[in-house]
Amino acid sequence: MNPLATCLLVSALLFAVGLAGALTRRSAILVLAGIELMLNAANLNFIAFWRFGPHPEALTGILFVIFAIAVAAAEAAVGLALILAIYRHARTSDVSEITEMKG
């Protein structure tokens, strides 16, 4: 099978799993994990198109993936700090019970 199509299918599967996790789980931490999985699926697409594209010497895909990893790290840190702050306030991390933002 075509290696590029295989990579794209793996990436689509990863995105679907992440989307299912973000949409179905009650725990806010796992919603964040699902978002991370979707970001990783996009990164895999970048790497695959860089590797099998016509100009692998341009390195644009790898650079974009590195910047995306940095952004994802910052997003995970801020998201987990928010979850901790909300948990300390509301004593729960269940996204279907956190219904108000006003203290």
């Binding site: 075509n2 199509a5 990579c7 794209l8 299918l9 793996v10 689509a12 990863l14 995105f15 679907a16 799993v17 989307l19 299912a20 996790g21 973000a22 949409l23 179905t24 789980r25 009650r26 725990s27 931490i29 994990a33 699902g34 991370e36 990783n40 990164n43 895999l44 790497i47 860089w50 590797r51 099998f52 594209g53 016509p54 692998p56 010497e57 390195l59 790898i62 650079l63 993936v65 590195i66 910047f67 990893i69 940095a70 952004v71 994802a72 910052a74 997003e75 995970a76 840190a77 801020v78 987990l80 700090a81 979850i83 901790l84 702050a85 300390r88 306030h89 004593r91 729960t92 996204v95």
Partner: protein, 156 residues
């Protein structure tokens, strides 16, 4: 994503990230693969495990899935079907010869990062610093009024 315990979910997530890093290495992107291994397996997995441990205590929910969970799963399956259909019908032709990866990707990544992408590098460094400061402030925010409460209760 269907496991019941949060810690098992975190472990599966770590394994998925490690497998993705191996896939990057297999595709010839050494720098991105190693960065993935360091950042995700090394840092984000630990962060998630710590967050799970810090927010535990009321895991007595009757169901781990949200009330609209079935609709979400169906939507995700539909998205995967559309993506797979798009990949299959996009007419990707098998390249006659897979282009070889550049011989020295590390060196050229360093050079291009310091020459052409110097402004995004600085911007992302600033953003990481701001995000770390913001995360620390968010995680520490509710500890401040406690001494006043203690003084007030002792005064009463």
């Amino acid at each position: 994503m269907t496991l019941r315990r949060l810690v098992h979910c975190a472990l599966a997530l770590t394994v998925a990230f490690a497998g993705l890093a191996a896939l990057y290495l297999n595709l010839g992107a050494e720098f991105a693969g190693l960065a993935q291994l360091l950042v995700y397996v090394g840092a984000i997995a630990i962060l998630i495990v710590f967050a799970i441990l810090l927010t535990r205590g009321d895991d007595t929910a009757e169901s781990v899935f949200s009330p609209s969970g079935l609709a979400g799963a169906i939507l995700a399956a539909a998205v995967f079907a559309v993506l797979a259909w798009a990949v299959e019908t996009s007419g990707i032709v098998h390249p006659a010869a897979i282009p070889a990866a550049p011989p020295e990707p590390m060196r050229s990544i360093g050079l291009i990062l310091m020459h052409r992408y110097i402004l995004p590098l600085e911007v992302i460094a600033l953003m990481l610093t701001a995000a770390m400061i913001g995360a620390v402030i968010l995680a520490l925010r509710e500890k401040r009024p406690q001494p006043e409460q203690i003084q007030r209760s002792s005064a009463q």
